[in-house]
């Protein structure tokens, strides 16, 4: 009997397949289907502090604009009784999701201000989330701002949130830290129980016909697996935190690689959006088949088995390997 269970931030999960934050968690129906298809846990779509603020301000702006200016039209809209403007809708939905499924539900929070993070984190905990994933994403555009200042800010946020909530806390990271292992350790020390590698950024694109900067949302591919794979392999065993690999999990092979690198769980969304929720079942079946075929008995057994500390050639993860890879191109030269 295969043992697919894994432990992620003290959550005991039936397998390492977790649905990552995506629109799939917006409806109870799809949430239930995720559970039925075999997801071991669900990360809710993100509560965006900015979005809440933006929508509030926008609603207020358009409801107020033009009011009390002109005697015949003192307003232009009926002021409705309620607007779902705060985090309440999210929290209510979280509660409903919790009731709808038995698997753990991880809240997700994308914030901008210290006050906002802490306040919303507490509310998510109160709403019944089994854990919280903080999505820290700050795009530094100010040339006067040093990486140290930004990192200190992040660490302080983690401390602030940690001090207020009791459920496990994961941090979804960007790959663009200068010294990722160092900051990862700082986050762990600050109270992060898990590190989720990596946040995918939706980089804007240029439309050459209209000469406009356009938003661009593209689903991930398996190629994107490599970056988090390397970093989890490097960090596993060195940092006191569990790892989740997100970005590029599309197949059972991707899951296996992630676990072998040291991930406790793998998170997926793109493949489910692309191929449907049923994809989970195939991946799970494939996973089991591969393990059977290769005579693995448990996930725990393979976890971290190909981390840098475990492999025969640790340098493969390092710069030497980079040079080797570059040289490999020579084979293609005419």
């Amino acid at each position: 009997m295969l043992d697919l269970t894994t432990t992620y931030m003290s959550l005991h999960l039936k397998n390492p397949l977790v649905a990552s934050a995506s629109p799939l968690s917006k409806k109870l129906d799809t949430v239930r289907r995720l559970q039925d298809a075999g997801a071991a846990a669900i990360v809710m779509y993100s509560l965006f502090e900015e979005q809440i603020t933006h929508e509030s301000n926008e609603l207020d702006h358009y409801l107020e604009r033009g009011t009390h200016s002109y005697a015949e039209a003192l307003s232009y809209f009926p002021d409705l009784d309620t607007y779902n403007m705060g985090p309440e809708t999210y929290l209510a939905h979280l509660q409903r999701v919790k009731q709808a499924v038995q698997i753990p539900v991880i809240g997700s929070l994308n914030g901008i201000s210290s006050g906002g993070w802490v306040e919303y984190a507490e509310k998510i905990e109160q709403a019944g989330a089994d854990a919280l994933e903080l999505n820290i994403y700050y795009l530094p555009t100010d040339p006067n701002l040093s990486s140290m200042e930004i990192e200190d800010e992040y660490v302080q946020l983690v401390k602030d949130v940690r001090a207020k909530i009791h459920i496990p806390l994961a941090l979804k990271l960007s790959p663009f830290f200068t010294a990722l292992p160092h900051i990862a350790r700082r986050f762990a020390s600050a109270g992060a129980d898990g590190l989720v590698l990596f946040n995918r950024f939706y980089q804007p694109d240029f439309d050459l016909e209209t000469l406009e900067v356009v938003p661009n949302l593209q689903l991930s591919t398996s190629h994107e697996l490599r970056l988090p794979l390397r970093w989890i392999a490097l960090l596993y065993g060195r940092i006191e935190a569990d790892f989740a690999l997100t970005s590029g999990i599309h197949t059972a092979q991707d899951v296996l690689k992630a676990v072998m690198a040291g991930a406790s769980v793998t998170m997926m969304a793109s493949t489910l959006l692309e191929h449907g929720i049923g994809r989970l079942m195939y991946i799970l079946a494939d996973l089991q088949a591969w393990m059977d075929e290769h005579e693995y008995t448990s996930i725990t057994e393979m976890k971290g088995s190909m981390s840098q500390r475990a492999v025969a050639e640790p340098a493969a993860f390092e710069r030497a390997n980079y040079l080797k890879t570059l040289n490999a191109f020579e084979a293609y030269l005419p």
Partner: protein, 1215 residues
């Protein structure tokens, strides 16, 4: 009993009672009664029950006529029903009012009394509308204040049930309907106590029912109609006593005693005024003041005007009365006197002859005079009351006088001393100058509520707006004090303890401090701090501050608002400062109250909104500073003062840079503009004498160009190095402030140094120069031009051929350039191929600088029509936004070209616009036919060749029209040389202009075309006559604040459709196409300007009725108005607004008449709708419903597309 003391508007006070006592409410928006309907609708939407525990059913109808009809049916089937209306709306109800009264049906109509459209429309208050209903058989009950409006509303509902006579309960529009005042709110128990359910059951018993059938509404013949009409007399005879009895019951329950005629004043009064409405409050307060000085004066406040009880009336008149003055707030031209006056005369006369009416043997008053006051909310002040009493003291007081105006034509007006005041100083009076967009009025409404409800003070607020929809100026009048406030007039000059100016630039335009009382406070929003503000004040302001010893404070409110995320809304900042300075509450308590109120108002919109307001409150006080006022004016003015020059300081030579208040219009303006419109612009229109005003409502065209409003913070700047001369920016400019011309290079010799030009790229104009020019002072800064510009700088894609830049540094330079640009010759239009956008935009717009919203989606269409057809265009304009920005004084945008030709414009009513336009067409056609007949007869005399050329001219394009015009000039000159006594010659001379083509444009919004005017529009379209109908479709009643029309789309939130409209938009185009003989086009300029242009040209060319339905983005959609064009594009791309043209003329050519001009939907509907607050707010409040309705909408789009596509590809049958 515990009753709440509330500070609310009259409309709310009345609607509360009406909603509590109705089962069905039929509504239709009309100012100033609209808020009653909106409140009733909102309360029912929120499931507020009526007195009997059930939620009243509220329905919006297609017109007030429809509302009255629906109410009639409702009443006949036994429901308790009400409606709210005013002015023309009430007139539309009159036919049903006769029926409802004739059938002795209990009902109450609540009316915010308003002027009627005569020489002009007016939205303001008087009794013209109510007086027009006095023959209907409705009882007329008048309320004089906010408190009374509530109380008498209840008395009306109670009395109608008992008397069976329907009641029209009225109160003064704006003055009472929109005044906020502190009053005692009736408890539910009070309402319960006043309504006898057995009377409700009796009403139901009389209802039509198949269970006990009868017929009502028969037709009667000469034998019985008369007698039957007299059969109602007992009810009318009984009614006054029933009302008085109801008033007694009310007094017993609530404590406030009313009478049919309330007398107030000296018991031995010799001079008595008789008046009804809010003016009675003014008279009463003045009488208290005069009586305290021993004057023997009094007032009779008429409450139940119909049925008029002579007996009750006579009891109210003191026996000592020597002179009676009856004041009417209406005018009946040609009558023997206004209605109330005539009733009083009749009453006195009858009572003399019939002792049962008055047994007192009273001496006959020496004089009974009638007078008019307060038409269209004209101020009626204690000074005017004093003037009337003074007149009444004369041996021969003036009969049929007017008060409050200067009638220098027929000399009806009474003189009075405007300085007379009854103020005791116990009431604090505050005036606030604001910009519509800065939130001043909202903040003041909030402040007055706090003062009235959270302190022991009584409070009153009244708000004055100008008629512009962009950059409008507001003046708020706030009073508070320890006693009830009965002052239904604005705060007078020199009487305000506190004056705030929320926009520094107003100091240049208006006499802001005229209101300030000596030793008062002046609070100014100023970018200049306390140390240097003084030198930046116009010297008139300096002088007033010094002379009145004002305490002067400044705050940089805009900077605080910006810093705290409030943007241009400085309301919270200024409100905080007001409370801090006024001391009406201890500072901490005031701040707590402001914050509580912020939480209450904005809490549901989200924490971010609350927090930014809180921050603005917290930041305000630290930025407010008192200014140490110098003892003297700035230097150059001190000199004139010391010299004791008699001329006003403002006329002294200025030796140093120094601000002066600027004249409202330039000196170059025509006399009428300077002398008549100018004073209106600066708010001094009240001072204009009767002789200054046209007697028939006729005003000159082209006056908007003289009112330089300078409201844009930023204006467009042209970059010739990038410009491709496409004309798109010119086309979309809602205010016609961007123009282009091609001209001979020689014209540039006198050009200002900064005037820009480039080589013209028009094949029709080789070797010419081209310029694009912006009028800086007329621009509203909407940014649509920049959005429309298709060019991007290859080196810096954010830079276009036209870009926004701050206006102030450009103003003077561009003013000079604009002047020069205007002096360049217009492009000759005769042989221009105007089918191309760039060519069409060389044509002069004859609609410019309107007061429409910045970024308005309607005006570009109107402007385009004037460019193409303006010199031979007559416009019938339905009431609505376009009639307001098109025809509301002081200045109006319809203008004329250098030859003096331009659109002739008129507004008849809301409901009849199509018919009005058809009438114009019929008249023009008839006159042309007659001219043809005459010309045929005179052909030999004027020259056969000329006659035939005229008779057979094909005026299908501009060149031909101009050629015909020349022929007619020649014809007229020849006619002038013929025998002047010959009738045909004289007649032909007077109608010869009809030989030149005239084009009739019928313009209006969707409220008109889809709802109130649809019947007429349908008939006109069916008539086959050559009219062009332009529907500016904003999908709501924009002018009255966004109420749903039948054009409102499925799923959009609008007033009266707060849950999101559940039914689809009416397909007006399809209905019109069904005739097969109507040209129909659906256009959206932002999506396809070329198709729009084509549609306009085809509509004009089609010899029959044409209908253009134009997508007009609107402030009521809740969009970023600078992205209006983009929204239009999305509307088309999503399939929501397919573009098409249906041209019956193509049928004659055997072609498919329906041309689908847009491609298959290529965007999800969400991309379009969720850019708009009207859709998004439903998503935010009720996601499930939003999604359901969106699903239906998507389905509809697919179905419509299929249908249109089929029509476009279907081969027409041979004709």
């Amino acid at each position: 009993m515990e009753r709440n003391r509330v500070t609310i508007e009259g409309n709310e006070a009345v609607a509360t009672i009406a909603h509590a006592l109705s089962e069905v409410i039929a509504i239709y928006p009309i100012t100033p009664s609209t808020p009653m309907g909106e409140l009733a609708d909102a309360w029912s939407a929120a499931e507020r029950p009526n007195l009997w525990g059930t939620v009243p059913l509220v329905i919006e109808m297609q017109s007030e006529g429809g509302a009255a009809g629906a109410i009639h049916g409702t009443l006949q089937t036994g429901s308790l029903a009400t409606t709210f209306t005013a002015s023309q709306g009430l007139l539309l109800m009159i036919p049903n009012m006769y029926k409802i009264a004739g059938e002795l049906t209990p009902a109450v109509f609540h009316v915010a009394a308003r002027s009627l459209a005569t020489q002009a429309l007016s939205i303001f208050g008087d009794h013209s509308d109510v007086m027009a209903t006095r023959a209907t058989g409705f009882a007329l009950l008048a309320s004089n204040s906010v408190q009374e409006a509530q109380d008498l509303a209840l008395i009306a509902h109670a009395a109608t049930l008992e008397s069976r006579i329907p009641f029209l309960h009225f109160f003064d529009g704006f003055r009472t309907s929109h005044e906020i005042n502190t009053m005692e709110q009736l408890a539910r128990e009070d309402i319960r106590a006043m309504i006898d359910d057995s009377l409700v059951y009796a009403h139901r018993q009389r209802a039509l029912s198949p269970d006990h059938p009868f017929i009502r509404g028969t037709a009667q013949n000469p034998d019985v109609y008369f007698q039957a009409r007299e059969s109602v007399n007992p009810y009318y005879l009984a009614c006054p006593a029933i009302v008085q009895k109801t008033m007694e019951r009310f007094a017993a329950q609530v404590g406030r005693q009313y009478h049919l005629f309330d007398y107030v004043g000296a018991p031995d009064a010799e001079r008595v005024i008789i008046v009804m409405g809010s003016g009675a409050e003014t008279v009463e307060e003045t009488i208290k003041h005069l009586a305290a000085q021993g004057e023997k004066v009094g007032v009779i406040k008429v409450r139940l005007y119909r049925p008029f009880s002579i007996e009750h009336f006579m009891q109210a008149i003191p026996l000592t009365t020597r002179t009676l003055a009856v004041l009417d707030r209406t005018k009946e031209p040609g009558s023997a006197g206004e209605p109330l006056y005539l009733d009083v005369v009749t009453a006195l006369n009858e009572s003399r002859e019939n002792s049962s009416l008055d047994s007192t043997q009273r001496p006959v008053p020496a004089h009974i005079i009638g007078g008019r006051y307060g038409l269209s909310s004209k101020e009626f002040t204690p000074a005017m009351v004093k003037g009337i009493f003074d007149e009444m003291s004369k041996d021969n007081p003036k009969q049929h006088f007017t008060i409050g105006i200067n009638d220098d034509v027929t000399h009806t007006s009474l003189a009075y001393d405007p300085a007379f005041s009854i103020e005791t100083g116990e009431t604090v009076q505050c005036v606030f100058w604001g910009l519509g967009s800065d939130g001043t009025v909202g903040a003041n409404k909030n402040s007055i509520k706090i003062i009235g409800e959270e302190t022991d003070n009584y409070a009153q607020g009244y708000f004055v707006y100008d008629s512009k929809k962009s950059g409008s100026v507001t003046v708020s009048h706030l009073r508070f004090g320890p006693h009830e406030i009965h002052a239904p007039y604005q705060i007078g000059n020199g009487q305000a303890n506190f004056v705030a100016c929320h926009q520094f630039t107003f100091l240049e335009q208006f006499d802001v401090l005229k209101y300030a009382a000596p030793n008062g406070v002046f609070l100014l929003d100023s970018i200049y701090g306390p140390e240097n503000v003084w030198g930046h004040l116009p010297h008139e302001v300096q002088q007033e501050i010094i002379e009145k010893h004002l305490h002067f404070y400044v705050i940089d409110a805009h900077s605080v608002a910006n810093k705290t995320g409030m943007g241009a809304r400085i309301n919270t900042v200024m409100q905080t400062c007001f409370f801090a300075i006024s001391g009406v509450l201890p500072r901490e308590q005031a701040i707590a109250q402001i914050k509580r109120s912020i939480q209450k108002t904005y809490g549901k919109r989200g924490e971010a909104v609350v927090q930014k307001n809180f921050l603005a409150v917290d930041e305000s006080l630290a930025h407010m500073h008192e200014v140490q006022v110098p003892l003297s004016l700035s230097e150059q003015y001190t000199r004139s003062k010391v010299n004791g020059a008699s001329a006003p300081a403002r006329r002294q030579p200025i030796t140093l840079p120094m601000l002066s208040r600027r004249p409202p219009v330039p000196n170059a303006a025509p006399d009428f503009v300077r002398n008549v419109l100018g004073p209106m612009i600066v708010g001094d229109g009240d001072d204009l004498p009767v002789s200054a005003l046209p007697c028939d409502g006729t005003y000159p065209s082209g006056t908007a160009k003289w009112e330089k409003r300078n409201i844009a913070q930023e204006m467009p700047v042209w970059e010739p190095d990038l410009c491709i001369q496409c004309g798109k920016c010119v086309m979309v400019c809602p205010h016609a402030v961007i123009r282009m011309k091609v001209y001979d290079p020689a014209e540039l010799k006198d050009a200002p140094d900064t005037f820009l030009s480039m080589d013209a790229h028009f094949k029709e104009f080789p070797d010419m120069k081209y310029s694009l020019q912006v009028s800086p002072e007329d621009c509203t800064g909407c940014n649509l031009c920049v959005e429309a510009c298709p060019v991007k700088d290859k080196r810096q894609v954010g830079r276009k051929a036209i870009n926004m830049a701050p206006q102030p540094p450009l103003r003077e330079k561009e003013k000079a350039n604009w002047e020069f640009f205007l002096s360049l010759p217009e492009v000759p239009s005769a042989h221009l191929n105007i089918g191309a956008i760039k060519n069409s935009q060389l044509l002069q717009p004859l609609f410019e600088f309107s007061g429409a919203c910045s970024g308005c989606g309607e005006t570009p269409y109107i402007k385009l029509a004037t460019q193409l057809f303006g010199d031979h265009m007559i416009v019938a304009n339905a009431t609505g936004c376009s009639s307001i920005y098109g025809g509301n004084l002081p200045t109006t945008p319809w203008t004329y070209n250098n030859e003096g030709r331009g659109p002739a414009w008129s507004n008849s009513l809301f409901e009849d616009n199509a018919e009005f336009g058809l009438g114009m067409r019929l008249s023009l056609d008839k006159r042309e036919e007659y001219a043809h007949e005459l010309l045929t007869k005179c052909a030999a005399s004027v020259g056969e060749e000329l006659a035939q050329a005229i008779l057979h001219s094909d005026q299908s394009d501009e060149a031909e029209i101009q050629a015909q015009r020349q022929r007619v000039v020649l014809l007229k000159s020849r006619l002038a040389q013929l025998d002047g006594t010959e009738a045909n010659v004289q007649n032909l001379l007077s109608v010869a202009d009809a030989l030149v083509r005239k084009s009739v444009w019928i313009i209006g919004g969707d409220g008109w075309a889809y709802d109130i005017g649809y019947g007429g529009l349908d008939h006109v379209l069916a008539s086959g006559r050559n009219v062009n109908v332009l529907v500016l479709d904003t999908e709501v009643y924009s002018n009255t604040g966004g109420q749903a029309s039948k054009s409102t789309p499925l799923g959009a939130v609008a007033k009266f459709a707060a849950r999101g409209k559940a039914t689809p938009k009416k397909d007006l185009g399809m209905l019109a196409m069904a005739y097969g003989s109507v040209y129909v086009a659906r256009v959206a300029m932002g999506a396809n300007d070329q198709q729009t242009l084509k549609a306009f040209l085809e509509a004009e060319a089609y010899d029959g009725p044409s209908l253009i339905i134009a997508y007009s983005h609107c402030i009521a959609h809740g969009i970023d108005m600078s992205k209006g064009l983009e929204q239009q594009k999305l509307a088309v791309q999503s399939g929501y607004w397919p573009l098409y043209r249906y041209n019956p003329a193509l049928l004659d050519e055997g072609k498919q008449p329906f041309i689908l001009d847009s491609k298959e939907p290529s965007l999800p509907l969400e991309r379009y709708v969720y850019n708009e607050t009207r859709y998004r707010m439903l998503l935010q409040s009720n996601e499930e419903r939003a999604e359901t309705l969106l699903g239906q909408a998507k389905h509809d789009i697919q179905e419509h597309w299929k249908q249109y596509h089929e029509m476009a590809t279907h081969s027409p049958a041979e004709k």
